[in-house]
Amino acid sequence: MKVLKIIIKDMVRTFNSMFVLAFMLVLPLLQAGIPYLAFGGLSTGLDIQKTRVQVVNLDQPVAQYGDFTTGQLLVEFLQDERLANLLDVTDAPDEASARAAVEARTAGVAVIVPAELTASVFDPEKTAALVLFKDPALTLGPAVVEGIIIGFTDGLAGSLTAADIVSAQLTEQGMTLDETARQDIMRRYGEWANTVGESLSSGKHPAIEYLPPADETEANPGLALIGPLMLGMMVFFTFFIGAIQALTILHEYEQGTLMRLFSTPTRPMTILAGKYLGVVIALEIQVIVLIVVGALVFGIYWGSLAQIILASIALIVIASGFGILVIAFLKSTRQAFLVIGGIVILTSTAGGTMTTTFSNLPPIFTTINLLTPQGWALRTWEVAMRGGSLGELIIPFLVTLAIAQILYLIGGIQMRRRFEQ
């Protein structure tokens, strides 16, 4: 009963504190909400930014083929209205001005069509290189342009390659490929490439059947970053709040109310249990709110119910243990926030909470993750969010609990030493 009273008293004080509420709920939700808005939440339709492209066509026609240039074909392809949502294409008078536009950041990419493009189409001995001159600070735009250009060149190169190889093989056999036949081969290959291209643009590959890695709720690929981002922030802020909540123990000690509690006919263990459980319950509330909002508002898949429960328990227990350990060694509440902030930021960063959206991380970094309590909490959740089995989850879960036990033990011993004079 007394434990409950201590918990209730602490909860009332917690929820009266704008600071704690902001850290528990507002900031983590902002951390997920802002990327949600960034990647689609602010509009109902396609809202991607157009890439400004300067194209300069230096391609020269080949005498026997009239005024036709492949370069013009490419320019028309880029200016096709089907690409109007992605590209804003302007003709540049010359290469220097196209490059200057990128340097001046009035364009994201300059496409420089070489003079020998058409010649390379008709003469197997000739090669040509299309130059994409990009703003290095941009990521998606240049990649989109590159993808489009490569699609075009692959199609063209494929046709050329088809004709070259057929011709070469026939020649070896003492036969020849006349121009009509050559053009026919290029046309047929081009038609085939178009068919494949159309299939790809409708989201299917004609030769691939996809299987997801787990039987899970389909997320919106456009918002794929939100889940890992919110996970990282949830873990970060849970550890932060764990320490802030544990700080109330030290605060009460300085205020005199903790010693006053010890002077009442209440067992010290009851008092400390009440304080520790208060930390746990505050974290529970935080995690539940974040999970529910994440699922309902951002569509995040956290895992099956059993996995969510286990992963939550692991996170809450280890974060509270960490908080108690940190506070046990803090001399006073003066500048506590600075120290807590520093320790939590560093261990959380080392634990991987800031890099949950990154992939193919170096092994040394993933090793360092596992030297922090945050790393193990994250690992438990990642198994759940990827639809792993309960069997896969159990090991990180148990390791997390074991580490939490150690943290509680050390923190508890140190706390006791301080309060027993």
Binding site: M1, K9, S17, Q255, M259, P265, Q421
Partner: protein, 314 residues
Amino acid sequence: MNNHIAIQVQDLRKSYGEVQAVQGMSFDVPKGEIFGLLGPNGAGKSTTISMLSGLVKPTTGDVLVMGHSILREPLQAKSALGIVPQDIALYEDLSARENLMFWGTMYNLFGKALSKRVDEVLQIIGLTERQKHKVGTFSGGMKRRVNIGVALLHKPDILIMDEPTVGIDPQSRRHILDSVKELNHAGMTVLYTTHYMEEVEEIAHHIVIVDQGKMVASGTRAELVKLVGGQDRVDLRVVGDAERLAQSYKALGGVATVQVKDDLLSLMVEDSNAVLPHMFEMAGRTSTRITSVEIQEPNLEAVFLHLTGRTLRE
């Protein structure tokens, strides 16, 4: 243990490394009395109180509270105690009522009984009108009243008050002293620590004087004052050679002790009326001018000065 004794302090000692904060304190607090613990800052009063309350483990010694050892039966001992700490120990972001309700549960009061008792205590401390206001918004005096109220919730047999009037206004101080007397009249034993001599002189039935962790004297006010032999204290402010004058006073009959500090001479004399004229005469002879004379009848300040050579407020 004697049934008439509320607290029995048995050779209490506390050391912090080389520092001996309390050295062999032993006294009995009779039931129904106001027991004063008087000493200057750093005398060891608060450390003694902390050991009595079970907050600090004694290096050696024990305390029996209503027959229960604070070391071996802490819960039973603490149930009999109501502690009013020197510093305000309340939750400033909770209201007065919320504070009392919470602390009441820590003293094993629950439900309607707790609510009723909280109403009573609010009445006693005069804060019924402000019960729903946060303690953080209270004045210092009001906070002290809530601080005392918490200790009264469970109707303890013994109330321990550790310097309850430090830093508060005279009106609030008056209120506290009157409350202590009222509580005592109602049967409560009070252990009251302070460095204000006039407070224990007013309220305490029995006084222990402590200095540098040791008991230097114990008894009623009358008994303690007799230690200085009923001597008067005479304070003279002089202009001139105070040291020379002090030397000459030492040879004067009826003068027990002379202390010099800058331009102030403090003397303990048998009869101030008889000695004073001679003092003036001697001053004249040494070309020293006396600018003010203050005569105090024997009090605890004098006792402390006599026993330790220092004043309570040094």
